[in-house]
Structures are given as structure tokens and as C-alpha cells.
């Protein structure tokens, strides 16, 4: 669906959000006690995306040099899960696609005709994903900074349940 492309995000969230709230191979127990509940970067990106989506907010990314590229291709998200406890990510990948498809202005008939390349269409889809996520991150950071204590799981759940336009 997204080919071999993957989204990028605003560099400023690398330290303020991604490194803080994702576990990424560290000691799980320890990091969890510090507010890191997301297993991987892509889980956090999805979280930001859905918040932006549900709030119907999009925010353009800064120039390329201010972005952090996301090396893990969307197609491979979830593939690193080995435990039986966590289910696969196929459904969430397709949900991501549906949302991007719905909210991206692409003349699909021209794509089908071959007048517009599929590559440029996918690039547009990825841009949509990035913009929703970017708006989501801005909102998350604002809420994190309002807090005096370390965010807990309830905080993350509340943010997304309340994110409705």
C-alpha cells in the first residue's frame, strides 16, 4: 500500500517525545517507570497520527533538514513482534492507509490510466500521514509540558479518547 516508503517527523520531537516515551530495547521495567510505554517508534508515530486524525488537524512539516527520517518501512511495522501477547499490525496499517486515502486529493482514475505515477500518489499519502502525526505530536508535547508529573498510561489513553473534533 505504501510501497517502500516511510514517513518522517519533525526533528524536535525526537528528543522531546520519541526518546522519552518509547522503550526501544532498553530495560522495559525501568523505562516504563519513567513514562515510556510505547514499544517502538512506529507505535508512537501511529499514536500521534491518530490523535491528529481524530482532531482533524494537519500540520505541514518543516524543511527536510529539520526532519528525522523514519527508516522502518510501514509494511514492516509489527514484524518485529515475537511474543504471543502482542497481535499483528496488519489492521492498523490498513487503517492508516484508509485514513490517508480518504484525506488525500489524488486523481486515482488518472493513476489507473498511468497518467499520474503511483509513486507520486504514494508520496502524497505519506505526506498526509506525516502532517496528521505532526499535528498530533504538537498537541501531545503541549499536554506533556502542562503536566508536572511523569505521564502515566492513563494520560496517553485520555489524550486519545478526548481527541475528537
Amino acid at each position: 500500500m505504501f510501497g517502500t516508503k516511510s514517513p518522517a517527523y519533525n526533528k524536535k520531537y525526537k528528543e522531546t517525545l520519541f526518546e522519552r516515551f518509547t522503550i526501544q530495547g532498553g530495560s522495559t521495567e525501568k523505562k516504563r517507570s519513567h513514562g515510556a510505554f510505547f514499544e517502538t517508534n512506529y507505535e508512537f508515530l501511529l499514536y500521534g497520527f491518530f490523535i491528529g486524525l481524530y482532531q482533524n488537524n494537519r500540520l505541514e512539516l518543516p524543511v527536510k533538514s529539520e526532519q528525522t527520517s523514519f527508516r522502518h518501512e510501514i509494511e514492516n511495522w509489527g514484524s518485529k513482534r515475537h511474543t504471543d501477547l502482542r497481535r499483528d499490525f496488519k489492521y492498523v496499517q490498513f487503517a492508516l492507509f484508509e485514513a490517508a486515502f480518504l484525506n488525500t486529493d489524488i486523481d486515482w482514475l488518472r493513476v489507473e490510466c498511468g497518467d499520474v505515477s503511483i509513486d507520486s500518489a504514494v508520496t502524497k499519502l505519506i505526506t498526509t500521514v506525516e502532517e496528521y502525526a505532526n499535528a498530533g505530536f504538537e498537541y501531545i508535547l503541549e499536554k506533556v509540558e502542562e503536566r508536572t508529573s511523569t505521564p502515566d498510561e492513563m494520560f496517553f489513553l485520555r489524550l486519545i479518547t478526548q481527541a475528537k473534533k
Binding site: 525501568k30 519513567h34 510505554f37 481524530y54 486515502f101 493513476v111 498510561e153 489513553l157
Partner: protein
């Protein structure tokens, strides 16, 4: 170590000199109540330096003392003749002795204790060693010694951790595992890591621009490190105090141990604690995981799904329409071309195929409204026109160029169907699922609160009961006050412990934060090589920590298996359940080991009888002993286990079965038993059933008749070999 002989001199009821020789496996000393078993047990404890200080002062034989004139002195001593292993020719004798004097007022005065040892070499030389205790520690280290003796049936319960953090089993497992060795490596790596860190920091300091910031980060981190160390000390201190308090509290509780009501209260508390554990499991707060695993992230997705479906369906329709229009357009163009060299008025597809077929079937030309019977010229004309039309349609379909080169939308169709099948109902039920989880959590939490309140009430009742069992009115009040204050202290200590633990967590977080800032400066100043080395070393030391824990768990599993095997052997034909041994984390973050007696379905064994409880304990002790001897990789001495009346609750059949099983477990066992003896006309006799017990050596301990229990100078235990 093997005890080959114990030699007593004027030790309490053992007047004069008494020697008892032991074999390397099972040794049994029989005796009725009050005939000297426990005194012999205590004598051995005395020389092993395991006797309570308050039991130590009156060790001399009353009879021997009575025979002294004023100013004269006598000696009390206990000597153990031991070898490192069975059959060893190098002997050691460990002697503990005290001299006693008769004072002018007829009272007794003791000299200080003297601990001596004699080493008999292979060549038969005798070396006297003045520090007998260090020889004892060398032959029989204290870590093992403290777990080698068991006075009475209750003493077997050394692994009960319900009193709050008994470390017996943890200590024992550490002895048998290589965990300590691993820890050494882990410490070495930790040290090298610190050195690497130091080097890295020194290198960073050389850059003057950032030096100030760097220095302040370092000093802040160091002060946090000092704070964390102090908190850890407090934590460990409090944990120790807690352990002591729990022991004291359990001592108090023993006062009323036999009280039925007290036991019932304990059971009620335990059952509520079990329920709390179960309710704890019901509480799930991994909300972030649930976002993905339980698809909560799609909670507001319904609108998107509908929007997508609408857009997709419209696109597909547009695509079909465009395709149809394209074909029609092409076909019409083609038809016009065909029409130009046939009838000028009608295209090849007018009338259409169905109409043509209808006209042929009815043998009527509906264009000119005339009949056209089969075989007529008009009929043949219509037939050839239909054939031409069919041929033309086939040709047209082949010839029209395709409008769409790709069919991405069709590829999506399958995925879309799959997605809808899998998640549509989930999307709708997500909000309910979240609510359900919250309801579950809330009800479990409130259930826990109720149970905790009930426990508090029960504990209060228990305290009242403890007070009610005092020996006199005075001690009654003071015991109760003391007990209550201990309970209060324990709860306060527990609160402190939690506080320290959370403080430490917070400090760790701050330190991590500072470390990452320091790390960034290190990276900026080009110390990547050092940074990398440091990281590698750090991960190595963490790996060692992990291996240490795994090793520990492996040993626990081994212990559990062995314990169950022995447990099964002790209780061959009876309903028994299983022994479960598990590691769990204490509030302080340290590990402790819990022993539980469970049914085969894993539930806790409620109200096991005393004999079953005892066999659980014995099975674990034997398993530990067995493990000690099968330890690989280094020469490992076995140590004797000494029991006084360990199986009082067993019936005779079970006792002999148990003793025979014990014989088959390697290692020296010295057991004092009141079973298998009977008194006939004041004479102590060994019962016939004892013949079925196989052992290395057996003795009957009995007081020399006649004697007067009120007059200790008449009490003298004699030892007869059976």
C-alpha cells in the same frame, strides 16, 4: 564434614564422660521425654556455637558440681571428633569447655569459655590449635551451620517467608549457585566501566568552551549519586529492621500458636490475602498496549471507515462508468464504419442483438412490420444480419484499446474486505471494551480495599487475642503493649521502605537524564571511542546481572523438583499436593523466595495437617542437603544435619518409612526421636517396630534409675548402643 564422635564431660545430665560414635549416614538416638535427648542436642549446638547466649550459662552437671568441695573446680566440655569427609584419616577434634568453681557461699562460678581444637595429621602427629572456633568455621562454615540444626518440629519451618522477608532460602540458594562467582565478574566489569567513564569525562573536560556546563552536570550527577547511595543504605537498613521486627512479631504470635481462634484468624487473613493477590491480577492498566492489542486506537475510526467506503465506492463506480463509456464510444465509432458499406439507414447494431433474435423467433420483421416465415428471403436476410452483428461485436471487443493500464483499486478491494471483516465489529465495541476494563479495574480495586479493611479488623482481633494469652496479668499487659507497638513500628517501617524505593526511582530517573546530557557533550567532544567502550562494558555488566538471576531461578527449579520427589517418597500413599518454590520481588526491590504448599491444580493447600506440613519442610531441607552434595565443579563437603524430635506428628508406620527414605539420601543425619520407645514399670524399652528401620548407629538414651525430678543432682543420662 562428618561427626564421627561426640564426647561429653559433665554436661548437664551427662555426668562424667560419655562418648557416642556416629556413622556417615543415618544415626538415631531414641529416648522418652525428659531422658536427655534435647540436652544432647544442645550439647552439640553448644560446641557448634549455635546455642542462645541465655542457654549457655548453666552447662555444668549438677551432680558433678554437687560433688565439689568449696574452692574446688571441675570441667564441663563437649568435643566433636570430625573429619572433612567420611573415611578421611586426617582428624580434627573441636573442644569447647568451661571450668566451674564452688564458691564459699556454695554458689557456682564459671570461667570464660575456651574453644580449642586438635589436628591429627595423617602421620599421626597431634597439633594443638588455640583458636578452635576458626577451625570450626573452616570445617563447617557458619552459613551452613545455621541451617543444619532443627530443634522440634516447628524449627523445620525455616523457609516460611510469611513473617516478612526471611532470607534463609535466598542465602542457601546463593551458597549453591555460581551466582556469587558471576557477581564477581559483574563487579569487575562495573569497575572497568567506571574507569572508562572516568577517562571519557576527563577527555571532555579538556574542551574549555563547554567545561563549565560539563562540570556542573557532573557535580549535580555526583550529588544525586551520593543521595541515591544514602537512600539505598536507609532502604537496606529498614529492610533489616523490618525482618527483625517480623521475627519478633512472629515470636509474640507463637505464644498463642496453639490457640484455635488465633489460627482461625490467621487462616482468615491468609485467605483474604490470597483473594487480594487474585484481584490484583484482574487489574490491567497497560492502556498503551491495549491501544494496539485491543484495537483501542480505532476508537473514533467509524467516521473514517465510512468516508473511505464512500470514496472508494464512488471511485470504483466512476471507473466503471468511464470504462463503459470508453467501450461504447469506441464501439459506436466502429459501427459507423461498418454501416457505411451496408444499409445506410441503420447501424450494424440496430436493431440490437436481442431484438434481432426475437424477430427471428417470431418470424416477423418488426422494422417493416411484415411476416418473414422460415426459409423466406426476408427471414434469411434477418438471419445473416444477426450473424454479422454477432461477429462484429466479438471483433469490436477485441479491437478496442483499454482505457486503464492499472487496476490498483481492484487490488485494494480484497484488503478492504479483509479489514472490514476483522475490525468493523471491534471499532463499534472499542468504547464498551474500554468501559468494561475500567469497571473491572474499579471493582477489583474496591474489592481489594474491602479485603484490606477486613484484614485490618482481623489483625486487630489477633492483637487482642495475643494479649489474652499472657502468663500473668502484668506480662499480659506488657506483652500486648509490646506487640501492638511492634505492629505499629512494622507498618511505619513498611511505609518508609516504600518512600525510599520511590525516592530511589526518582533519583535514578534524574541521574539518567543527567547522564544523557553528559553523554551528548562527550559525543560532541569526539570521545566516541571511549563512549562506545563504556557502553559495551555497561551492557556486559548488565548481562552478568541477568545471567545471575537466571542461574538463581534454575537452582530454584532444581530445588523444587528435588523437594517434590522427596515429598512424594515421604507420603507415598497419601494425598499430598505439591511444593511450589518461587522467587518474588520485595518492596525494596530485593528478591526473596517463597515456599507454598499447593494442590495439584495450583491452588493453595488449605489446612494441611501437621505431619504433612512437617514433611514439606523436611523435603526441602533434604533437597537442599542433596543439592549441596551433588554440586558440580568444585569439591564440596557435605555437612551433617541434626534434628531433635522432627517428626513427632508422624505415626509409627510413616516414621519408619520416613527414616528408611532418609537413609537413602546421602549425607550424615543425626536424629533424636521420642518415637519407638515405651515405658514399662518405669523402664524404658525400644519397640519392635524399630527393627524395620535401617540405620548406621542407634542408641537409647535413658536416665539412670532411681532419680528424683525435683533434684537435679540425681539426674544422670546413660547411653546404650542398640
Amino acid at each position: 564434614m562428618i561427626i564421627n564422635k561426640v564426647a561429653l564431660k559433665n554436661y548437664q545430665c551427662y555426668y562424667g564422660e560419655t562418648e557416642i560414635v556416629f556413622g556417615k549416614d543415618l544415626n538415631i538416638l531414641l529416648g522418652a521425654n525428659g531422658e536427655g535427648k534435647t540436652k544432647l542436642f544442645e550439647a552439640i549446638m553448644w560446641v557448634l556455637d549455635l546455642l542462645n547466649k541465655n542457654q549457655e550459662h548453666s552447662v555444668a552437671s549438677e551432680k558433678a558440681f554437687d560433688e565439689l568441695e568449696v574452692g574446688q573446680s571441675g570441667t564441663t566440655s563437649v568435643a566433636l571428633h570430625v573429619t572433612r569427609e567420611a573415611g578421611d584419616r586426617e582428624n580434627y577434634i573441636i573442644i569447647k569447655e568451661k571450668v566451674f568453681f564452688k564458691k564459699p557461699d556454695g554458689g557456682i562460678r564459671y570461667s570464660d569459655v575456651e574453644y580449642k581444637a586438635v589436628h591429627e595429621t595423617l602421620a599421626g602427629e597431634r597439633n594443638f590449635i588455640s583458636d578452635g572456633k576458626s577451625t570450626l568455621n573452616d570445617l563447617f562454615p557458619y552459613e551452613y551451620r545455621q541451617y543444619s540444626n532443627f530443634e522440634g518440629e516447628d524449627a523445620l519451618d525455616i523457609f516460611d517467608t510469611s513473617g516478612g522477608g526471611d532470607d534463609s532460602l535466598v542465602n542457601l540458594i546463593n551458597l549453591f549457585s555460581n551466582a556469587e562467582k558471576i557477581e564477581k565478574y559483574s563487579k569487575i566489569f562495573e569497575e572497568i566501566y567506571l574507569k572508562a567513564k572516568d577517562a571519557e569525562e576527563k577527555a571532555s573536560k579538556s574542551n574549555s568552551k563547554i567545561e563549565r556546563e560539563y562540570k556542573s552536570l557532573l557535580s549535580e550527577r555526583d550529588s544525586k549519586l551520593i543521595a541515591i547511595r544514602q537512600k539505598r543504605e536507609l532502604q537496606s537498613e529498614t529492610q533489616k529492621e523490618l525482618t527483625n521486627l517480623s521475627k519478633r512479631i512472629s515470636d509474640f504470635e507463637k505464644i498463642v500458636d496453639n490457640n484455635e481462634e488465633f489460627n482461625t484468624l490467621n487462616e482468615m487473613i491468609k485467605s483474604r490475602e490470597d483473594k487480594i493477590k487474585k484481584q490484583d491480577l484482574n487489574i490491567s492498566t497497560e492502556y498503551v498496549d491495549f491501544l494496539f492489542d485491543r484495537k483501542w486506537i480505532l476508537m473514533n475510526f467509524r467516521e473514517v471507515l465510512e468516508g473511505f467506503n464512500k470514496k472508494y465506492d464512488a471511485l470504483e463506480k466512476d471507473r466503471r462508468d468511464a470504462e463503459r463509456a470508453h467501450i461504447q464510444k469506441q464501439a459506436a465509432a466502429k459501427a459507423l464504419v461498418i454501416a457505411s458499406h451496408d444499409f445506410t439507414s441503420l447501424a450494424v447494431n440496430v436493431p440490437d442483438r436481442a431484438t434481432m433474435q426475437e424477430m427471428l423467433d417470431e418470424e416477423v420483421c418488426k422494422v417493416c412490420s411484415r411476416r418473414a416465415e422460415k426459409g423466406s428471403e426476408a427471414y434469411e436476410f434477418m438471419k445473416s444480419k444477426l450473424e454479422a452483428l454477432v461477429k462484429d461485436i466479438e471483433q469490436t471487443e477485441e479491437d478496442i484499446p483499454e482505457l486503464f493500464k492499472f487496476n490498483y483499486l481492484a487490488e485494494l478491494r480484497n484488503e478492504r474486505v479483509l479489514f472490514e471483516e476483522r475490525v468493523t465489529s471491534d471499532i463499534d465495541s472499542t468504547v464498551d471494551d474500554i468501559k468494561r476494563q475500567f469497571t473491572l479495574n474499579t471493582s477489583a480495586a474496591s474489592e481489594i480495599k474491602t479485603l484490606q479493611d477486613e484484614i485490618d479488623d482481623l489483625v486487630a482481633k489477633k492483637s487482642e487475642l495475643v494479649g489474652g494469652k499472657g502468663k500473668s496479668e502484668d506480662s499480659y499487659t506488657s506483652i500486648l503493649a509490646d506487640y501492638m507497638s511492634k505492629l505499629k513500628q512494622r507498618s511505619a517501617k513498611e511505609d518508609y521502605l516504600k518512600l525510599y524505593t520511590s525516592d530511589i526511582e526518582k533519583l535514578k530517573f534524574d541521574i539518567d537524564d543527567l547522564e544523557s546530557k553528559i553523554e551528548r557533550i562527550n559525543a560532541l567532544t569526539g570521545n566516541e571511542f571511549l563512549s562506545l567502550s563504556k557502553k559495551i562494558l555497561h551492557s556486559l555488566s548488565q548481562t552478568f546481572e541477568k545471567v545471575k538471576n537466571e542461574e538463581f531461578d534454575e537452582i530454584l527449579k532444581d530445588l523444587e523438583n528435588r523437594s517434590n520427589k522427596i515429598f512424594d517418597e515421604i507420603n507415598v500413599e497419601s494425598f499430598r499436593g505439591k511444593i511450589k518454590i518461587e522467587r518474588y520481588k520485595l518492596v525494596s526491590g530485593r528478591y526473596s523466595v517463597g515456599v507454598e504448599h499447593v494442590l495439584n491444580n495450583g491452588e493453595r493447600f488449605m489446612d494441611p495437617n501437621k505431619s504433612l506440613k512437617t514433611s514439606v519442610n523436611i523435603a526441602i531441607i533434604m533437597a537442599v542437603s542433596e543439592m549441596a552434595q551433588s554440586k558440580e565443579g568444585e569439591s564440596f563437603n557435605s555437612y551433617p544435619l541434626i534434628f531433635d524430635a522432627p517428626i513427632s506428628s508422624f505415626d509409627k508406620d510413616k516414621s519408619s518409612q520416613f527414616l528408611n527414605m532418609l537413609k537413602s539420601i546421602p549425607g550424615q543425619k543425626i536424629i533424636m526421636l521420642k518415637d519407638f520407645v515405651s515405658k514399662e514399670n518405669g523402664v524404658v524399652k525400644v519397640m519392635e517396630e524399630f527393627n524395620s528401620v535401617s540405620c548406621d548407629s542407634s542408641y537409647l538414651l535413658s536416665l539412670k534409675r532411681p532419680f528424683n525430678r525435683e533434684d537435679l543432682t540425681t539426674m544422670e543420662t546413660q547411653v546404650r548402643k542398640l
